[in-house]
């Protein structure tokens, strides 16, 4: 459906998109994840035709989009803060795209009713958009983007401004909705939870380039680089020398999975892969802090020398602050990271 081929956009010296290659298949939901300034919004604007390319191509349904203005691309875009038209009511907003395509009045009315039902706002057509809550605005924006049946729907931080509970509920609703409609979706977000919950495939961006692309489980369990690991919230990264099934680190000897790259590397230990044992040999670790997290307790451990280590422990196994403990690592929660792209 969508192909980006070496897409490049420069703002002065800085490349907002640096030769990005990306494909989105029909009916696929792809989430682009990255910190602010990583170029993910520019990516959407390029596809929508709101931002001109400095190099490369954008293809939609196999056709090069060079010179095709935004209003002829037939894609949908849901803006970060919705951008509902303030002078129109809910129905007027949803019908806008249909009117632009010259749809008849009867067709507009029918489709507006259908979409408002679909997004869970039946009969809201006459309401003023100023009177809507954040979640309702979001639904109207979605209905407006879906109404003209775009071949590709793009979402820019779709749930960014909503509070946490609502966000978690809506992301599930969205995924079900897109699955039912068979919509092809390209969403960008800086929230990993949102991206992983919504998408068939996650693309992590950094400084205008793609840092990693893959299924949510794959990206989550095998971050490709220290950047991706840290962006996903993993801070247990340490320098290591890998030899066979063992890595030498400041945290002592750490077992690594079979087939890991060898030599001087960076190494990630997921907090769940840390286990506490009684102090037997070697230097002891100190429990620096404990934070109760509901299903588990996050413990920060301080070695005699080297960076601190985060561990997730079951509730009943937690030692007191200041206690001296020993540490063991589980090989399947250890990832030897590839070199970061500079």
């Amino acid at each position: 459906m969508l192909v980006l081929d070496g897409a490049t956009v420069r703002f002065g010296e800085r490349a907002a998109l640096d030769a990005v290659d990306l494909e989105v298949a029909d009916h696929e939901i792809v989430s682009v994840l990255g910190p602010s300034g990583s170029g993910k919004s520019t990516l959407l604007r390029v596809v929508a035709g709101l931002q001109a390319l400095d190099g490369g191509r954008v293809l939609l349904g196999g056709a090069d989009q060079r010179g095709v203005p935004a209003h002829r691309r037939g894609v949908g875009l849901m803006f970060q803060d919705h951008q509902l038209f303030p002078q129109r009511d809910v129905g007027g907003n949803v019908a806008f795209g249909l009117r632009m395509r010259g749809a008849g009045r009867a067709e507009q009315t029918e489709r507006v009713t259908e979409l408002l039902d679909l997004v869970g706002l039946p009969g809201a057509g006459r309401r003023s958009v100023a009177a809507l809550s954040g979640g309702e605005q979001q639904r109207v924006a979605l209905a407006r983007a879906l109404a003209p049946r775009p071949r590709l729907l793009m979402l820019d931080e779709p749930l960014g401004q909503l509070d946490r509970g609502l966000r978690e509920r809506l992301v599930v609703e969205l995924r079900q909705l897109f699955g039912r409609l068979g919509t092809t979706v390209l969403a960008v977000t800086h929230d990993q939870g949102e991206a992983f919950a919504l998408a068939d495939r996650v693309v992590v961006m950094r400084d205008g380039r793609i840092a990693q692309s893959g299924a949510p489980v794959e990206v989550w369990s095998r971050p490709a680089s220290e950047f991706v690991a840290r962006f996903l919230g993993f801070d247990n990264v340490v320098a290591a020398r890998v030899t066979g099934p063992v890595a030498e680190t400041a945290w002592g000897k750490v077992p690594v999975p079979d087939g890991s790259p060898q030599g001087e590397r960076r190494l990630l230990v997921r907090p769940g892969g840390v286990r506490l044992v009684p102090v037997e040999e070697g230097p002891a670790w100190t429990v620096e802090s404990r934070t109760f997290r509901g299903s588990h307790v996050a413990v920060r451990l301080r070695p005699v020398d080297g960076p601190p280590l985060d561990a997730e422990l079951p509730l009943r196994e937690v030692p007191g602050e200041g206690a001296a403990v020993g540490v063991e690592f589980r090989a399947e929660d250890v990832v030897v990271l590839a070199d970061d792209i500079p």
């Binding site: 209003h71 875009l77 806008f96």
Partner: protein, 549 residues
């Protein structure tokens, strides 16, 4: 941006430059020595000094009287607020000739005060100062009051909770927030009063002369173009400086302030102090604004044998003395026709300029913006204000000497008058449109584009509904100032089709009760036209979405 720039180059810069050249270049040699020579003449120095101090005094007096008014309009809720706001705005959109006339009827020979107590203020500086306050009251109330109404009162409350007294809270929280807008209003008033023409001409008589009236006198009476050119240059530089300062304060004002909807901050006056203030403001409005307007109307009906419509009737017949080739009533039609055309020109030019001023901004923002481009935009912004402060007399006379040969042989054409009037209307259109256009989020247009709207369709569907109201308001102001334009029109209006203000000025310049009465009658008609258009505007206006005038 090209069209507005070309318009200003052709109809403003060129005529003014030509006048200056004609005055300062003799036989192909620039006579810059004339500057020193002219500026050391005592009578010229007197004019410069008087211009400066009367403008400063007018500005100070206006602030003193109008700031409490701004507070009342901003913070008090009372019945008839909209009507009162319209009333105080009437003088500002009234032709200056009429302002002079109204005060002549109040404080002049045979005026109300003369009849009651034998007090005459015309040919004193007081008449000029008070007339200036009358004229500029609305500038302060609208500019300062508009902002004041939207300042979040909770900021002041926060200061109170932190231990500041009421006065101290006002001084440390509200005043700094208001200061830039007060400064901006003061500069506008200064600009208007420093270049005031008709008011000084009518009320100052031969005793007082400002830069503007002196330019007129040198040009028309003495035909001393050199002196006029020198004075124009002096005025040009001074106005440039004032505008630069103004632009700076406006920029400072763009710092973020906490804003609330005006309705939230206003409430009914409470306590003796607030009611006293409220009453004082109402009284000052009554004395200063309603009384002169009322007297004007009264004089137009007061004939030598009691009240009657004699003067109005006289307007319908051709002038026996032959000064006017047509019945005076026709001047109303002329004025309206010219003003409509001038409004259309001002809307097109001003609209394009405002659009040009908003476009690069949004484009720059997405590219990180450069300070140079921002400065350029502000420079253009300030440039558009120049016609407000530069001698209309010079512009009018400049039109005559530059636009008389091909390809722009317009001297005999009626279009000359609306062109000159549009020049004054453009700054108002730009001022009104700019804040609204800037407030339209670029991404709304993008949202429309993605939904399939072509750029033109997006403009029609998104921008137009949002700016329609501002557009109407801008049109109203352009119409009012075009209607009242005098300094330039007096030169270029053809004798067989004078405009209303020109006719009023000519009538006042001639002796006789009938002429005086007819001037009052004409002025009354003009006032009613202005007031009606203003009231219509007031219905459309909300403080949030419109500019500062």
């Amino acid at each position: 941006m090209a069209v507005p720039v070309a318009f200003f180059a052709l109809f403003f810069a060129w005529p003014v430059a030509s006048i200056v050249e004609r005055g300062l270049r003799v036989d192909g040699v620039w006579q810059f020595g004339r500057f020193g020579e002219t500026l050391s003449r005592p009578e010229i120095l007197d004019v410069l000094w008087f211009t400066l101090w009367q403008a400063l005094a007018s500005t100070g007096l206006t602030l003193l009287i109008a700031l409490p008014g701004a507070y009342v309009f901003a913070r008090f809720e009372f019945r008839g607020k909209g009507l009162l706001r319209a009333v105080v705005t009437v003088p500002f959109v009234m032709p200056t000739v009429m302002v002079g006339t109204a005060f002549l009827a109040l404080v002049g020979r045979g005026g109300l005060l003369d009849e009651l107590w034998g007090v005459r203020l015309d040919t004193t500086v007081w008449a000029i100062l008070i007339a200036h306050v009358f004229f500029n009251y609305a500038v302060v109330v609208r500019t300062v009051g508009g902002l004041w109404a939207q300042l979040d009162p909770r900021q002041e409350e926060a200061a109170r909770v932190l231990g500041a007294s009421r006065w101290k809270a006002w001084r440390t929280v509200t005043l700094p927030a208001l200061a830039p807008s007060v400064a901006a209003a003061a500069l506008m008033v200064f600009l208007f009063t420093a270049s005031s023409f008709a008011v000084v001409q009518i009320l100052g008589g031969s005793t007082y002369s400002t830069l503007e009236t002196e330019i007129y006198r040198q040009t028309v009476v003495r035909f001393d173009l050199t002196t006029a050119a020198v004075l124009t240059m002096v005025q040009f530089v001074a106005v440039g400086v004032v505008l630069a300062v103004h632009a700076r304060t406006v920029r400072r004002r763009e710092t973020a302030l906490r804003m609330v909807a005006p309705e939230e901050a206003a409430r009914r006056p409470r306590g003796v102090g607030q009611w006293a203030l409220f009453a004082a403001v109402l009284l000052s409005v009554a004395l200063l604004i309603v009384l002169p307007l009322g007297v004007l109307v009264e004089r137009s009906f007061a004939t030598s044998h009691g009240y009657g419509l004699d003067y109005y009737r006289a307007l319908q017949t051709p002038d026996p003395s032959g000064t006017f080739l047509v019945p005076l009533l026709d001047t109303i039609g002329n004025s309206l026709r010219y003003a409509v055309v001038a409004t259309l020109i001002a809307l097109v030019i001003g609209g394009l300029a405002a659009a040009a001023l908003t476009l690069p901004r949004s484009r720059l923002r997405s590219r990180g913006g450069t300070p140079t481009a921002g400065r350029l935009v502000r420079g253009f912004d300030a440039l558009l204000m120049l016609p407000l402060g530069v001698s209309a007399v010079t512009v009018g006379f400049g039109f005559l000497i530059t636009l008389d040969e091909p390809p722009f042989d317009l001297r005999a054409s009626w279009i000359l008058v609306p062109l000159a009037q549009a020049l004054v209307g453009v700054p108002f259109v730009v001022r009104t449109m700019l804040p609204v256009l800037r407030a339209v989020d670029e991404r709304l247009r993008e949202a429309a584009a993605v939904l399939g709207a072509s750029p033109w369709r997006a403009w029609r569907e998104v921008d137009l509904p949002l700016v329609r109201r501002a557009l109407l308001i801008a049109a109203g102001f352009a119409f009012a100032v075009s209607l009242g334009e005098f300094g330039a029109t007096v030169f270029i209006a053809r004798p067989d089709s004078p405009t209303l203000p020109v006719a009023v000025a000519r009538l006042l310049g001639r002796p006789g009760e009938l002429n005086y009465g007819q001037a009052m009658a004409l002025s009354t008609i003009l006032m009613v036209v202005c007031a009606v258009s203003l009231l219509l505007l007031e219905r459309l206006r909300t403080d949030r979405t419109s500019g500062e005038f």
